[in-house]
């Protein structure tokens, strides 16, 4: 056995997953809300787009992200001009890529939760003088709390587990873009199986505990507040 593996990438992975989850909470909530309540013809198209990352190979996503985020593309160039740093091969770029990659894991549980809440409780709230934003915060959100829990945990866990997109968009820069899945890949490539074993086991146990937690909570606790 060699010494403990470098834990920096593990910490970076946790940061990336946390930031991505926060970003997706803000972006995913309105998308899920709209999908749950709209009758628009556009709905199936939007649903399909948000589900794309589930089926596309990470290399395809990573390739397109590179195309759009690189400094010579409009978006990448605008970011470089504004912040002085590139989107590709940076932590910010990883967040953008992860948010795209994990979008369905946020949107789909939330959409299902909002659909389960339905219109009826919101109509009741309106009849009690609650405006739409008030009703969303005080009725829809608490009633969809289990959906939020599922969405947050799955998004976080899925971001921890991503590899292909990160490799293509972020590369392998220690302290900036070197996340744990890439560290494992690197360890295997260099035949450092001890490090690979240790890190793989950490991820395996983490993922199992998280999923076990989600399924247990979902089954045993109807969520109540107030």
């Amino acid at each position: 056995m060699t010494a403990l593996p470098d834990l920096g990438p593990l910490w970076l992975t946790a940061q990336l997953a946390a930031v991505t989850t926060l970003v997706l909470l803000v972006l995913g909530t309105p998308i899920a809300w709209w999908l749950a309540r709209t009758g628009a013809r556009l709905k199936p198209a939007v649903e399909a787009v948000t589900a794309l990352p589930l089926v596309l190979p990470p290399t395809v996503l990573g390739f397109y992200l590179l195309v759009f985020l690189n400094p010579t593309a409009p978006l990448g160039g605008w970011w470089l001009a504004g912040t002085g740093s590139t989107l590709t091969f940076s932590f910010t770029g990883l967040v953008v890529a992860s948010a795209v990659y994990s979008l369905p894991f946020m949107v789909q549980p939330l959409q299902a939760a909002f659909e389960a809440v339905g219109r009826a409780p919101l109509e009741a709230a309106a009849s009690l003088r609650a405006g739409p934003w008030d009703a969303f915060c005080t009725v829809a959100t608490p009633m969809a709390l289990r959906g939020y829990l599922t969405a947050v945990v799955l998004t976080f866990a899925h971001t921890v587990g991503e590899f292909g997109v990160v490799l293509m968009v972020g590369g392998n820069i220690p302290g900036r873009t070197k996340v744990v899945s890439i560290q494992i890949y690197e360890a295997v490539e260099t035949i450092d199986y001890a490090t690979a074993h240790a890190l793989a086991l950490i991820l395996l146990v983490f993922s199992f505990v998280v999923l076990l937690g989600v399924y247990t909570v979902n089954r045993r606790f109807p969520v109540h507040v107030g």
């Binding site: 009826a120 109509e123 309106a126 009849s127 009690l128 003088r129 405006g131 008030d134 969520v223």
Partner: protein, 363 residues
């Protein structure tokens, strides 16, 4: 209001004013548009064309649509829609907090007392019976301090006993809390027990409006009520009591007396009696040797035979009130009944409305 709402295969066209006091029944068979009309008043259905005006305020009109939460319309839903993530107290406070600025002379405790909610406050809605849930829903709607209370078949999911527990609470609302109520139902008993007026709907149109007794007595509503339940409401006052035989005499408005199983009310109290058309038989003269004791002198006003069945509906004039009888068409022929003919109406069974307290007095 003057409103038109079109759906595939169904159109609702209503031009109707609603009084600003008392309880108005919005009455009609399933699918006639009652609930849709209620949702339009509440602002929950944006698809309707036309005008909805409350007092001087236009709620809906050309270029105007006041959203539901700014209308101050209370809504009691058939399925209660209590918030499952809050306790009973939380549900009530939810409404109370959002009505802080509304100047109304009753508070949280008044509503809790009036509906007897104190024992339920700490419970969650999942731990309540159907009747309790509906009482909480009514209390919650009241605490939003509405200008107008809409009730959409609030008792439809309850059994007869629970209905009996809640109806008196509903009957008291306009006086106790000073607000008009629009009460949607297809149940005649609920109308006779709590409502002051009827707006009757059929197939998206108003077919009759007026006082409860007058509208229910009109023969053309028989279809709406269904042959079995069709009947008349007779108003009267408690007369003499016979404690030994457990009978109470009711002096009918405009003359006539009906004996009913004893009613525990003081003499002179106003009551309403519901007489089903199928419980009324006709005779040309007062028969002797009959178990039926209630015989009322009447004059035939109209005879409506139903060619699709063996029966005919006969509308009778009792002087000041009307009564309906359902007899066979063969009997009409045998007795040679014609409008204007004096007959004796024999009344078999009477259902008595216990909550029909003197109108206008507090419950």
């Amino acid at each position: 209001m003057d409103i038109a709402r079109r759906f595939a295969g169904f159109a609702l066209e209503i031009a109707q004013g609603f009084p600003g006091t008392g309880i108005t029944a919005l009455f009609g068979p399933s699918g006639c548009g009652k609930s849709t009309l209620l949702r339009i008043i509440a602002g929950l259905d944006r698809g309707a064309a036309g005008r909805v005006v409350h007092g001087d305020t236009v709620w809906q009109g050309p270029g105007v649509f006041v959203p539901p939460h700014r209308r101050g319309v209370g809504h009691v839903f058939q399925d209660t829609r209590l918030f499952p993530h809050l306790t009973v107290r939380g549900n009530l406070r939810y409404a109370d907090r959002r009505a802080r600025g509304v100047p109304v002379g009753y508070g949280f405790d008044d509503v809790v007392d009036a509906l007897d909610l104190a024992p339920l406050l700490a419970r969650r809605s999942g731990q309540l019976s159907g009747g309790e849930r509906q009482r909480v829903a009514i209390g919650r709607a009241l605490l939003a301090r509405p200008r107008l209370l809409l009730m959409d078949e609030p008792l439809a999911a309850l059994d007869t006993r629970r209905k009996g527990e809640i109806l008196p609470h509903i009957a008291r609302l306009p006086i106790a809390f000073g607000l008009p109520v629009v009460y949607v139902t297809h149940a005649v008993e609920e109308v006779t027990q709590v409502c002051d007026r009827i707006v009757a709907l059929a197939a998206g149109r108003v077919v009759a409006t007026g006082g409860v007794a007058e509208v229910l007595a009109r023969l053309d509503l028989a279809e709406m009520q269904g042959r079995f339940e069709a009947g008349t409401v007779l108003a009267g006052r408690i007369g003499a009591q016979d404690a030994g035989l457990h009978l109470t005499r009711v002096d009918l408005r405009g003359g006539g007396v009906i004996e009913v199983p004893q009613i525990g009310l003081a003499a002179g109290q106003a009551v309403r009696l519901r007489v089903r058309a199928r419980d009324v038989s006709l005779a040309l003269a007062r028969p002797a040797g009959l178990s039926i004791r209630n015989m009322l002198d009447a004059v035939v006003l109209r005879i409506d035979p139903d060619p699709a069945s063996a029966f005919a509906e006969v509308l009778l004039d009792l002087g000041d009130q009307h009564l309906r009888a359902r007899v066979t068409r063969a009997a009409v022929a045998d007795l040679a009944l014609v409008p204007g003919q004096p007959v004796v109406a024999l009344v078999k069974a009477v259902s008595f409305d216990r909550q029909a307290l003197p109108r206008g007095g507090p419950g």
